[in-house]
Amino acid sequence: MSEFFAMGGYGFYVWCSMGMVLFLMLLEPIVLKIQHRRLIKSIQRQKRRKKEN
């Protein structure tokens, strides 16, 4: 197992590359999802205000 992570001495390079890919490709959809929820909430608020007036 540790041999696998060592990557013949190049573990640092391989895992830094893979890690950044994983990080950004998880971050992007998560940020979009949060943004989506905020938009829905703000439109709901806007709709409620409209009704009250």
Partner: protein, 246 residues
């Protein structure tokens, strides 16, 4: 069967359609990327001997570099459709593509730096392929910046579409930066692209991961375009009638 494509050029019909497609593309992306990487890490012979396992960076490096270039073409295609037909949806698709394109370009440069350090002994060199890829990143950033600098949506859409179209000139330059007719004339550290010479298992893994990257890009671009639709159309009646707001 005739599909009325223009129906989907209106945000009100595209929004729910995109919502249905996102989980499909995301699932495919996860399956293909995991499958491809599994094959690439465990089922390929160590052709370069045990000492050179850094070649495994190839799977994500090549996939992200290809996506960076292709997404630029996709973005320009949407921008041009917008300029010709003046459809809101096309412009929204173009700007949704830009951010993902920039991320893919950044990933290709990042993974390339780590590969370069192992095989060429340098994180960065002004080799033609790297330099043109860096310019591509600046083009994406320029497009995003220009769009956010102009407040009026219609003007910012058109201005950034023209910028994207002019920047299309970089794509053939990126391609020919390593595939130039006379190899002696292009001083590239990158070797000529040679898919035929790659070991078949590595090639399959690379192509499967690339297909997964395509699916991922479709999914996040659709996610972003839905957000853009909500931002721009929040005052319209159809948005208020959406299920989420009942």
């Amino acid at each position: 069967m005739a599909i009325n494509w223009f129906k989907y050029s209106s945000p009100s019909s595209f929004y729910p359609l995109a919502g249905k497609m996102i989980p499909v593309f995301m699932t495919l992306a996860i399956l293909l990327i995991m499958g491809g990487l599994y094959w690439g890490f465990f089922e390929t012979p160590d052709v370069l001997s045990d000492q050179k396992q850094y070649y495994k960076i190839i799977y994500v490096h090549v996939a992200s570099a290809w996506m960076a270039m292709w997404l630029y073409v996709v973005m320009v295609a949407w921008a041009v459709l917008g300029l010709i037909f003046n459809t809101r949806m096309s412009y929204m698709m173009a700007s949704a593509t830009a951010v993902t394109g920039a991320i893919m370009t950044a990933l290709s440069l990042w993974t390339g730096a780590f590969w370069g350090q192992t095989s060429w002994g340098t994180w960065w060199d002004w080799d033609p392929r790297m330099t043109t890829q860096l310019i591509l990143l600046f083009l994406y950033i320029g497009y995003i910046a220009l769009q956010s600098a102009i407040e009026e949506t219609r003007r910012s859409d058109r201005a950034s579409a023209v910028l994207a179209l002019v920047g299309l000139a970089i794509v053939p330059v990126i391609y020919y930066s390593i595939n130039c007719p006379d190899p002696n004339e292009c001083a590239s550290l990158h070797q000529e692209s040679s898919l035929k010479r790659v070991e078949p298992n590595i090639l399959i893994a690379m192509l499967v991961v690339t297909a997964g990257f395509w699916m991922y890009c479709f999914a996040v671009i659709l996610m972003r375009v839905r957000n853009i639709i909500l931002q721009r159309e929040s005052h319209t009646n159809w948005v208020e009638r959406l299920e989420a707001f009942r």
